[in-house]
Amino acid sequence: MTMRLTRRTFLATSAAAGSLTFLGPRSLHAATNGTLRFGLSAYPPSFDAWASSGTAAGTVKLLIHRGLMSFAPDGSLRGELAESWEVDDQGAWVFKLRDATWQDGSPVTAEDIAWNVAEASKPDSTAFLRGQLQTITKVETPDDTTVRMITEEPSAVLPGWFAHYNMPMIKKGEAVDTTMGAGPFKLDATDRGVSLTFSAFDGYYKKGLPKLAGVKATVYADENLRVAALQAGDIDLIEYVPWQAMEQIEQNDQLKLDAVDGPFMYLTFNGKRAPFDDPKVRRAVAHAIKREDIVAAAFYGRGGTLAHLPIADGSAFYNPDLADGWAYDPDKAKQLLAEAGHPDGFDCTMLSTAQYGMHQSTAEVCQAYLSMVGINVKLDLPEWSTRVQKGNQGDYDLAVMGTTAANNDPDGLSDIIDGSLPASFVRSYGLETPEISGYLKKGRTTFDEQKRKEIYAEMEKVAIETTPIVGLCWRSQGYGMKPNVTGFTNMPGQLTFYSGVTLEETALG
C-alpha cells in the first residue's frame, strides 16, 4: 500500500508529530531529565583548566571536565578517568585508564594524560599545581591505558593532586582554556558575565549519567538577589547562601538547605617584624579571642569555633586532645605577653578588608578582644585587591584571612602553615616553620595511614606551641535548593567547593 502525500495528509502528519514532540519529552523525561537552573555567585574569570580561578570556575570545570581522580560525595578519593591507581615496587604511581572519550568522540589515552602533566608543569605554566607537578620527574605510557608517574621521592598525596578541580585533563593539543573535556556536560553557549548553558554529554563514561538534560547557570552576583531568585522560583539551586538567609531557607517548606562547615577564618602574622616574630606573642593572641563572638557577629551563628589547626572533627586526622589548644583564656594571654616582655601590651595594625563583611566583622571582634589584653589594634581595611597585595608583600602586623584547604588531608594545609613556601597572603609572612615543614614533608612521603596520623598529631602539637597561624572559626558553606532537586550533595569539609562533581548525579524529581 502506498500513501500519497497530499496537503491534507502532510498537515495531519505534521500536527501529530508536533503534538508528539510536546507530549513525548514531558511524559517520558520530565521527572529526571530536566534542565537545572543554577544560580552562580560569579562568572568564571577564565576557562583556564589548570589555573586557580575561583569556586564558580571550579564548578564549571567540574561540569565539563574530569580529572584522573575525584572525590566521592562522602569525601573519599575515587577514580574518574583512572579506573585504578597504585604504587608499584619502585615507588611510582601507576594509573590504569578506563574506557572514556573526549566530547569530540576521540578516546582518552595515556598519551593525553602524560601531555597534561608535561604542559601544566612547564616552567612558563600558570597551573595552580605547577609546583607539585614539577616533583614528577617522568611520566611513562607503557600502553594506551597505563600512565606511570615517577616522582623525586615517594608521594602518598599525589592522587589527591589529580582529584583537584584545578587539575582536570584536557585532550592533547587543546588550548588550556578549552571547554571541550571528558566531563558529563558540554558547554553549548556563554553570555560573558551573565550565563552559561550546558547540555548532557551522551558519550560520558559513566553509564546513565548525567541524569539532567542540561544545566543553565546564571550569575547572581548579589547574594540577596540570589536568594530572592530561588524564593521566586526563577532558579532551582544556588551556591553561597548568605548566612543571614540560611534560617529563612530552612524554615521555608518550598526550599531546602545543604550546609557544611568547610571554609575557615584565621589570623596570619608578619614573622619578620616584632612583636609577632615571637611565638609567645602569637600564642597570646590565640588565647585572647573568644571565638563564639566571631561566629555570632560575622556568620550569624552559622559555623563553629576553631581553636586548633583547621582539621575537622569528622576527619581521621582530628586530634581531640588538641582541640582546645588555643582556647579562650585571657589570663593566659596576659601571662604570655608578660613573659614575652610586653606586660603593658603594644600597638599594631591588623589587615583585613572592607570588601567582605565577614572579614571586616571578624577583624572587629578580634580587635575588641585583643584590646582587653592590652594589644591596641588599628584596623587596615582596604578593598580586596589591595589586601591581597599587602598580604603578599608583608605590609601588615597581623591579618584576618579566610579560605579552604586543598582537600581534607592534613597535607592540604601546607599552603596555609608551611613557612618554607614562598610568600603568600594566605599564610603568615616571613615566618619560618622548620619543624612543621619537616612533618609535612614526612607525611607526604609516608604511605602507612597510622603513621601519617601520628606525624600530623605531632605536627599539630608543634603548631599549637609555635602558632604559625591562629584558627578562629569554621564558617558554614551552604547550597540552597528546591525540594525536587535530588542527588546534589554539599561535600564534606574542605571539599565543599568540589560539590559541582555531584551535578552528574543530580536530577529534578
Partner: protein
C-alpha cells in the same frame, strides 16, 4: 554651527585623551597586581613563578611608558585590546554591554521626563497649594531613598510576594521580547524614580521663574489661552535648565548605574567596569572609561545643540 561642533569635537578628543592617560596612570599607581589576583582567586596561594609567567604573558613586565605606548597605539588603530582575564575583546564586550546600560538610562529618562515635567509644571502653577506640597514631598522621598533600598523593595514586592516579574536578570530582546521589557522596567523604573524627582523639582523652579517674566504677562494680556501660554511660552522656555540637568544626570548614569545593575542583575556597562576594576583588568578599565568619557562629552555637546533649537537667541556660531 558646524564650526562650533568641529571645535567642540577637537576639545572632546583632547579631554578623552586626558581621561584615558589619567586612568591608565592611576590604575598602575593603586596597589593590586592583575596577574596575582587572577591566579589567587578563591583565596588560594598563587605560585610566584606562575604569577611571573602570567605577568610576562600579559606584558606587565614592560616599562610603563612602553605599556602606555602600546595602549594608546592600540586605541588609535581602533583596538581596545583584550581582557587580562580571559582574552575577550574589550571592544566586543563594550559593544555588547553599552546598549544594555543605555537602554536602562534612556527608558528611565523617558519615564522621568514624561512624569517629571508635568508634575513640576503642575506644582509651579499650583505653587503653595496641596498639589505642590504632595509633589514636593514625593520628590524629596524619591531623592532621599537610595536605589538599593528601592530595588530591594521592588524585588521583594513584585518578584517574591506577587511573583509578577522575575527577580532580576537579563534576557535578550530577540530571545523573549516581553520578558526583556519586564526585566528592563525594574532597573529603568528604579533609576527613573530619582531622576523624576530631580526633573520635577527643576521644572517647578524653572516654570515658576518663567511665569513671572514679561513675555508671559504680555501673552496673557494678548488674551492667549492659558493652555497655549503654558505650552508655547512657559514650559518651552523653562525647559533649558531642565535639559542641562537631564544631560548631566544621564552622563553620570552611564558609569553610575552600578548599584541598580547589581541589585537587578542587569549586565550593563557599570557592573562590567566595577568587576574590571576589582580584577585590575587594565585594558577593560581603560576601554570602558574611555567610552564613558566619550559619551559624556558627546551628551554635553548634544545638550548645547538642543539649547539652540529650544532658544533661538542662543547662537552656536563663534
Amino acid at each position: 554651527m558646524l564650526r562650533y561642533v568641529a571645535y567642540r569635537s577637537i576639545v572632546a578628543i583632547f579631554l578623552v585623551w586626558v581621561v584615558v592617560t589619567l586612568v591608565f596612570l592611576l590604575l598602575h599607581l593603586v596597589p593590586g597586581d592583575p596577574a596575582e589576583l587572577l591566579l589567587s582567586q578563591g583565596a588560594t596561594a598563587a605560585d610566584p613563578q606562575a604569577v611571573a609567567n602570567l605577568r610576562e604573558r600579559l606584558g606587565l613586565n614592560d616599562p610603563l611608558w612602553l605599556q602606555y605606548a602600546h595602549h594608546i597605539g592600540g586605541i588609535l588603530t581602533g583596538d581596545l585590546g583584550t581582557s587580562f582575564r580571559d582574552g575577550a575583546s574589550v571592544a566586543g564586550q563594550i559593544v555588547q554591554r553599552l546598549p544594555r546600560t543605555l537602554e536602562v538610562i534612556i527608558t528611565a529618562a523617558l519615564i522621568a521626563v514624561a512624569a517629571g515635567v508635568p508634575a513640576g509644571t503642575l506644582a509651579a502653577i499650583r505653587a503653595g497649594g496641596w498639589v505642590d506640597n504632595v509633589i514636593s514631598f514625593l520628590s524629596s522621598l524619591a531623592l532621599s531613598t537610595p536605589v538599593f533600598v528601592v530595588g530591594s523593595v521592588v524585588i521583594l514586592v513584585f518578584a517574591q510576594e506577587l511573583r509578577i516579574v522575575p527577580a532580576g536578570g537579563y534576557v535578550a530582546f530577540a530571545v523573549d521580547p516581553l520578558r526583556h521589557l519586564m526585566l528592563l522596567l525594574l532597573p529603568a523604573g528604579t533609576v527613573a524614580l530619582a531622576l523624576w524627582a530631580v526633573i520635577a523639582r527643576m521644572s517647578r523652579a524653572s516654570v515658576l521663574d518663567v511665569l513671572e517674566r514679561d513675555h508671559v504677562r504680555t501673552a496673557r494680556a494678548k488674551g492667549l489661552s492659558r493652555r497655549r501660554i503654558l505650552t508655547r511660552h512657559v514650559v518651552r522656555n523653562a525647559m533649558i535648565p531642565v535639559l542641562t540637568v537631564l544631560g548631566l544626570e544621564m552622563g553620570t548614569l552611564i558609569g553610575g548605574t552600578v548599584l541598580v545593575e547589581f541589585v537587578f542583575n542587569w549586565p550593563g556597562l557599570s557592573g562590567y567596569l566595577v568587576s574590571a576594576v576589582d580584577a585590575r583588568d587594565y585594558p577593560e578599565v581603560v576601554g570602558i572609561v574611555m567610552v564613558i568619557s566619550i559619551l559624556f562629552v558627546f551628551l554635553n555637546l548634544v545638550v548645547d545643540v538642543v539649547y539652540a533649537v529650544l532658544d533661538p537667541r542662543i547662537s552656536l556660531a563663534r
